[in-house]
């Protein structure tokens, strides 16, 4: 079990002045598993992501990524080096694509560091020496693979900003995957998708987990996605972990129900919420 650990978060605390966004949070995420982080708005989910991907430096705590070649301490790594050296990729709650560039260019920019090395920091690339030409061809192949995977091959030459919303979400995932991550952090990937698109997203995420062996960390409000594909759910409320376990255990946890529905005495859920939480895994 221990060697299956991918990410270990220990006593993570993040304070902004007097506001405690995350309070002594510890959890682990395993390799080739989808770990969902859920919680009401303002619970600190995105802050966890920002700490993991180097946008914030945590006030306290240790973030260990067990990469293939040994553990790495994320909180000591400069922001942009986390995706480069440690293999943590992320997507954003409000999509951040390079809208003026084409879909293919978006995926090639994601492979910047490998290409940069191959172009010998542009000197070899300037004269189009063999090594760079080969690396670029490989980069295009990889981009093609992900274009097919997310079903955007035919739109490869469109400007990313012209894609419909659902395709932009998928492109952002493909772009993150082009950095060859070992941990993929997805910030509300199903937000704004219709039921058919979120079913497609489920298939894509499951394939990333099973075929690529990439561990996923998933923030999501859409319970049909969370309950169906996650192997492990962590529930946050006011920066604290209130539940941790498999989806079935979590959705019946009284603390979770309280966090979502408030401190009501009777334990009866309103029928539509109960239906939401008890989505049949085979529904789609």
């Amino acid at each position: 079990m221990t060697d299956n650990k991918l990410l270990e978060v220990e006593h993570l605390t993040m304070r902004f002045g007097g506001l405690v966004a995350i309070d002594d949070l510890s959890f682990t995420a395993n390799k080739s598993e989808i770990t969902a982080i859920i919680g009401p708005n303002g619970a600190g989910k995105t802050t966890v992501f920002n700490c993991l991907t180097g946008f914030y430096v945590p006030t306290e705590g240790r973030l260990t990524l067990h990469a293939n070649d040994g553990p790495r301490l994320l909180e000591r790594t400069e922001g942009f080096r986390i995706p480069r050296n440690n293999g943590v990729a992320r997507t954003f709650q409000n999509i951040r694509l390079f809208t003026g560039m084409t879909v293919l260019e978006n995926l090639i920019v994601a492979q910047h560091n490998r290409l940069m090395e191959a172009s010998a920091f542009s000197i070899a690339g300037l004269f189009n020496l063999g090594r760079y030409a080969k690396a670029e061809k490989e980069a295009i192949e990889k981009a093609k693979f992900w274009l097919n995977k997310v079903g955007l091959y035919d739109q490869a030459d469109w400007n990313a900003g012209n894609l419909p919303y659902g395709s932009q979400r998928r492109l952002e995932i493909a772009r993150a995957m082009c950095t060859d991550p070992s941990l993929l952090c997805l910030d509300e990937p199903a937000a704004g998708l219709n039921p058919r698109e979120s079913a497609e997203l489920n298939i894509l995420l499951q394939s990333i987990r099973d075929d690529q062996g990439v561990g996923c960390l998933l923030i999501e409000h859409d319970m049909s996605v969370v309950m169906q594909i996650s192997d492990h759910v962590i529930v946050l409320d006011y920066g604290r972990k209130i539940a941790d376990g498999n989806p079935d255990a979590v959705k019946n946890d009284p603390a979770v129900i309280r966090a979502y529905l408030g401190e009501e005495e009777d334990d009866e859920l309103p029928p539509e919420v109960a239906a939401d939480l008890n989505v049949d895994p085979n529904a789609h």
């Binding site: 942009f80 560039m101 920019v109 690339g125 091959y153 490869a156 772009r175």
Partner: protein, 506 residues
């Protein structure tokens, strides 16, 4: 169309009433301001009445108002535009008379000016055409049919331009290469072409920073100055040749780019612009005040001219131990040789700038610049080092500025801080913005418009600035994002460039 607007059509007598009203207003306004002037006579100050100016003012008001009435009534755009052009010419006439003419009943100055020489006829026609075109295209008719047509035309032009950029570029290059053969004996033509070429090179250099990396740099002239002073000082103090100093000037300028860039590149947008503006001023102020090294406001004079790649010299009196250029090629001595050589030198430098930029755009570094311009946070999440990427743009842009500076120093033979004021930065930035950020051919066109035209029409004194202004207004109206503001993808998977453009225009 006429039936659609029949209900709003005013009848003739109402139109006349309206025009008469505006004529009276124009009379009241102009008679005191334009119509009365004090004249110094031996007997003392006297009032003179300039009825010519008042008449023109009333006339142009009435004609202009009539154009607006026609627009309101939805009548022919061509006639409207014609009327507005007439108004503009009348106002121009009024302006000229007000400033220089004392004779009240002289024939229209505009006609004298327009038919004075071939050049002025060309300028006059260009002016009238620009005004007419502005009027025509800004008068959107209520029925949208014709507007669609003009949009269709512009997208057709775009399609042709964007799918043939390479060919157009090649034609441009060939034109600039054969230029000295066309105007070989015309000293001022070669001088002007060299000047324009310096600005094209500076524009291309700045285009890397502003157009590709999206970093607003208001102090680009600082790197130009560093290049110029590097060459001047190295050649005066250490007696180094131009060909050795040229790369050194580029390296010095790039180092200054890095030194400036390192602390300030975490700033964004306006803040970065202010800091770079400050840096440009600091360099200039240091150059003025460091008298021992730079000669302060006196500048550095008699800077060495470049030799023919160290093989031959262009002077009439060749110093001991070197060969004259004319002897080397068995020609008669001509002072034009050096000028033409300088022209080809700057052309080569500019083309190197262009090719390096075009190539860098298709390399990871260039794509990272553009990605950084689009979204810095997303770049960080993909493992791109924003600081290094920005620094490389700054340094490479600065390096080309430094090359251009060294060339400037060797061409002028004299430099002083006055050549490196903020105005220069503003002009170079205007060239980049006017050309369309990131567009290489756009920079060429903008440099010709901004530098070439005002110089070419210098004999028209300040009226050229009027035309210049009209041209800038025209560009702002039609192409608010620059003359050629298109981004062409660096790589295409399953479309040709032409299909891509056609798809975008649909």
């Amino acid at each position: 169309m006429s039936s659609a607007f029949a209900s709003t059509r005013t009848n003739g007598s109402e139109v006349v009433k309206e025009l008469a009203f505006f004529a009276v207003v124009a009379l009241l306004m102009s008679v005191m301001i334009l119509g009365v002037e004090t004249v110094d006579r031996p007997t003392g100050l006297e009032l003179a009445v300039r009825w010519d100016l008042v008449l023109i003012a009333i006339g142009s008001t009435v004609v202009g108002r009539f154009a607006l009435i026609m627009r309101r009534e939805g009548m022919s755009r061509i006639v409207q535009a014609l009327l507005i052009t007439v108004t503009a010419v009348a106002v121009f006439e009024m302006f000229v008379r007000f400033r220089d003419m004392d004779d009240r009943w002289a024939s229209p100055v505009v006609l004298d000016m327009a038919f004075g020489s071939v050049l002025s006829t060309v300028v006059a026609i260009a002016f009238v055409a620009i005004v007419f075109a502005i009027a025509y295209f800004s008068m959107k008719e209520k029925g949208a049919v014709e507007v669609d047509e003009s949009a269709k035309l512009s997208s057709k032009i775009q399609l042709v331009y964007r799918s043939n950029t390479k060919k157009i570029g090649l034609v441009g290059i060939i034109f600039f290469i054969i230029f000295p053969f066309l105007f070989g004996e015309n000293r001022s033509a070669i001088d002007l072409a060299t000047l324009v070429m310096i600005y094209i090179m500076l524009g291309w250099g700045l285009n890397i920073v502003v157009g590709l990396a999206g970093l607003l740099d208001l102090g680009y002239v600082a790197f130009y100055a560093v290049g110029a002073y590097s060459y001047a000082l190295l050649s005066q103090n250490f007696d180094l040749s131009f060909w050795l100093c040229l790369p050194l000037a580029g390296i010095f300028a790039a180092s200054f780019g890095i030194i400036l860039g390192f602390p300030v590149l975490r700033l964004r947008g306006d803040y970065l612009a202010i800091v770079t503006l400050g840096f440009g001023e600091i360099i200039r102020v240091v150059l003025i005040n460091w008298y021992d090294l730079t000669g302060g406001p006196d500048g550095i004079s008699s800077i060495e001219r470049p030799s023919f790649f160290g093989l031959a010299d262009f002077s009439r009196r060749v110093p001991e131990g070197s060969v004259a250029f004319s002897d080397l090629f068995g020609m008669d001595y001509s002072s034009m040789h050096r000028l033409i050589f300088l022209y080809y030198l700057i052309l080569a430098l500019a083309l190197v700038t262009n090719f390096v930029t075009m190539r860098l755009r298709k390399l990871p570094i260039g794509r990272a610049w553009e990605a950084l311009r689009e979204d810095e946070i997303a770049c960080r999440s993909l493992g791109i080092n924003p600081t290094n990427t920005k620094l490389s743009a700054f340094a490479i842009g600065a390096m080309f500025g430094g090359f251009a500076g060294a060339f400037f120093a060797t061409r002028q033979g004299f430099i002083s801080p006055e050549s490196f004021t903020f105005l220069e930065s503003a002009v170079i930035l205007a060239i980049v913005v006017l050309g369309g950020m990131g567009s290489q051919i756009g920079v060429v066109l903008a440099a010709i418009v901004m530098i070439g035209f005002p110089e070419m029409f210098r004999e028209l004194a300040e009226y050229r600035m009027l035309i210049f202004g009209a041209g800038i207004v025209a560009i702002m109206l039609w192409r608010p994002r620059g003359l050629l503001s298109f981004r062409d993808p660096t790589i295409l998977l399953n479309m040709s460039q032409k299909e891509k453009v056609a798809g975008e225009l649909k």
